[in-house]
């Protein structure tokens, strides 16, 4: 019986995790297993947690403006350790100009303020087809 496993992490230094928590709760209610890491994660911590937990998707909540530094580094680390099949989603405050560059680096989706949680659930379900063994 396969369950979708998702890592929800807050890389960087901002201390607002309410959004991440709301998303984690919505994913739980959609039947997913959510590994919640808490605040102030380095890219190395996020990648290593994703590996140990063998997640299907990583959700990053970033409100600090450091996304153009943090997200590429996390994608690079995931690739280095053989986890290029893991879907990476970003939520928070991401200016429109940064959306396309992030997507072309491999980010599956970017969710700004006001996103409905069931939209996030749908995107994760589509990005992690149930028989996908990475």
């Amino acid at each position: 019986m396969k369950k979708i496993r998702v890592l929800i992490a807050k890389p960087g230094l901002d201390g607002h995790d309410r959004g991440a928590m709301v998303v984690a709760r919505a994913l739980r209610d959609a039947g997913m297993e959510v590994i919640y890491t808490g605040l102030r994660q380095t890219p190395e911590m996020v990648a290593e947690s994703a590996l140990q937990e063998d997640v299907d998707a990583v959700g990053l909540s970033i409100l600090s403006g450091a996304h153009m530094a943090l997200v590429p580094r996390i994608l690079e680390l995931l690739r280095e350790q053989g986890q290029e099949g893991v879907a990476v989603l970003v939520g928070g405050i991401i200016p429109d100009d940064d959306v396309q560059p992030l997507k072309s680096l491999g980010v599956t989706a970017i969710f700004g303020p006001g996103t409905r949680t069931n939209e996030i659930v749908d995107v994760i379900q589509q990005a992690t087809s149930p028989n996908d063994d990475h």
Partner: protein, 324 residues
């Protein structure tokens, strides 16, 4: 290289993916377990249980930090340590929020530590069904010490005692009176009892109550053999880091006691028995449903729900097979 070979060589990604296969009970997972089984039996398995909010994850964080600076046997390098942290699945959605990593952030970056969060997926004894299998894989992967942190457990979630060599039960001040301490269940499975949050008021009293309850138990179970292990009651403050050195020393002492007294072997036997029983029951259930037919089972359930037959009569009919 096969996934089993990669695990034996210490490949962390192979290990993580094997755990997923085993958790999902895929055919590949079953094969991996079969192949790894001969390589198991070396690790010391440490169970950590206690009511919700007593500080289990925080204590695990501190204890692992401490044990990573010590040796299990004199002259040996520090143990490689794996943590399996179990949290409950929602009975409604089947989903889960696994939050034990929040308290274990000090362990990030240490390549000698591997943490895996696990949802209970409907199992009730404080563990998930595949927790025992996880410890086997981690054992084969070369971890010397495996910590199992149970879901926040009340009085009856005692499965961890048969899954572990050493069971630490954590309590905290203010959770109950001395009648609670004398009830059967979780306190009885402790090899080491810890009163965490010793910085809070009431800790002395809790410590004293537990010592008293344990003392009574030890008097009533004396059977005159080898000097039995006396369950110590320790005060810790995982938040402040107090008492962690003593706890680590007791863990190592208990491991030595198990080896010297022959109880290590006895507990391996109990564990094998429990695991086999559990798996056999599950297999028998599948087998029974196949033979009796799922439709027939549903019909019998209806009859019981409508009070036309008793549960006992239903069981007899199910066991009769499809002809009855």
């Amino acid at each position: 290289m096969t996934i089993t070979e990669r695990i034996l060589e210490g490949d962390r990604l192979a290990l993580a993916r094997a755990l997923t296969q085993i958790e999902n009970q895929s055919p590949q997972g079953v094969d991996i377990l079969d192949e790894l089984y001969p390589h198991t039996g070396k690790a010391h398995i440490l169970g950590i249980t206690g009511p919700p909010g007593t500080g289990k994850s925080t204590l695990v964080n501190r204890l692992v930090l401490q044990l990573r600076q010590q040796s299990l046997d004199p002259g040996q390098p520090p143990p490689r340590i794996a943590v399996v942290a179990v949290d409950p699945s929602s009975p409604f959605s089947g989903g889960a929020i696994l939050g034990d990593r929040i308290r274990m952030r000090d362990l990030a970056g240490d390549r000698g530590v591997f943490i895996r969060s696990m949802a209970s997926r409907g199992a009730l004894g404080g563990l998930a069904r595949a927790t025992g299998a996880f410890t086997q894989v981690l054992d084969a992967a070369g971890f010397d010490l495996i910590l199992i942190e149970t879901v926040g457990a009340g009085q009856a979630e005692v499965d961890v005692a048969s899954a572990a060599h050493t069971t630490i039960v954590i309590d905290a001040p203010g959770l109950g009176d001395d009648v609670q301490a004398n009830k059967a269940g979780i306190l009885e499975i402790a090899d080491i009892l810890v009163v965490n949050k010793s910085d809070l008021p009431g800790a002395e009293r809790t410590l004293h109550t537990l010592e008293l309850a344990l003392h009574m138990a030890q008097v009533s179970f004396q059977d005159g053999g080898l000097a039995p292990w006396e369950t110590p009651v320790l005060a810790t403050s995982a938040l402040e880091g107090d008492g962690i050195g003593d706890l680590a020393a007791k863990v190592i002492a208990h491991r030595q006691y198990l080896i010297d007294s022959g109880e290590w072997k006895a507990r391996q036997h109990v564990r094998a028995q429990m695991e086999l029983r559990q798996e056999l029951l599950a297999a028998l259930w599948v087998d029974l449903l196949e033979r009796a037919g799922e439709d027939r089972f549903e019909l019998i359930v209806d009859e019981v729900a409508e009070r036309r037959i008793s549960p006992q009569q239903a069981i007899e009919r199910m066991l009769e097979g499809p002809q009855g």
